[in-house]
Symmetry: C2
Subunit: 145 residues, 2 copies
Amino acid sequence: MNKKEQKIFRAWIALIRTNQAALDNVEDCLKKEGLPPLGWYDVLLEINRETDKCLRLQDIGQRVLLSKNNVTRLIDRLEKAKLVVRKKCPEDGRGVFAYITHKGQNMLKRMWPIYREAVKTHFAQNLEEHEINALITIYEKIKIK
Amino acid sequence: MNKKEQKIFRAWIALIRTNQAALDNVEDCLKKEGLPPLGWYDVLLEINRETDKCLRLQDIGQRVLLSKNNVTRLIDRLEKAKLVVRKKCPEDGRGVFAYITHKGQNMLKRMWPIYREAVKTHFAQNLEEHEINALITIYEKIKIK
DNA sequence: CCTATATAGTTGCAAATGTAACTATATTTA
DNA sequence: TAAATATAGTTACATTTGCAACTATATAGG
């Protein structure tokens, strides 16, 4: 393994461990406040961003990188918690929309301040502008494929 | 949310999604070759780096960021696969060492070329030197706490 | 049109994870 | 030194995930 490869691997491990550590910390913050996990926020936010306030399950999967069976089950939980409702898609008989409910929007509002603080303290704390930029462009490059 | 916060959040999402996408891809590569998951490699590698070829379970947990019950169970699986053996710690009656076996070292050797190629293609492909450096320093800063 | 194939979503089962309780040994402190 | 507290590891139970099979609808090719 040459010098460059060594660096690549250090960076790779860095990515994995950083992500894990930061994610663990942020999840802890939410849990301490009795709030649901980050995955719920992710999905609710994606739906809420849409002007129709709904998304096809397949689109949710693509955005938050979940396999389709896990989308089904996450939406199950969100629906049971009344944060979301399912509706058949009229244009495609196979499709299902998940609509965010008023309660779901409230949940976003409740979670946001905690989430925001947690990310600031456990992730952004010591980061320089150029490191933040680097992360953004790295993602752009990796997700392309 | 001001401009800077917005950037922080884009970077935060970037970190999460990048990690997820790259990890999914690399795990797929290993699975296609009939090899065990990345977590096994991580642990085996940490043990193998030690001159004694063993590590306390608690130390494993700290290095690969696993909670202690999950360390117990991962070592259970590794031991069942004969890649590792447990031995009581003589200095501390509560402690347990996990020793890597010859078979475990072979597994490292088998996994490495696949792992290495996978990381290169799914992670390092389009990355510039300065982005790699950024990831490394970001990790250093985040893990400190 | 009809058959073959692909896509969207769901479900069952096995494996992995989180949480909390539990056992056993160490350490502290009164 | 005895009692209280802390630490290392394991285990039980509930939740979540991964994988493969399954249903239903859509699309493509003959």
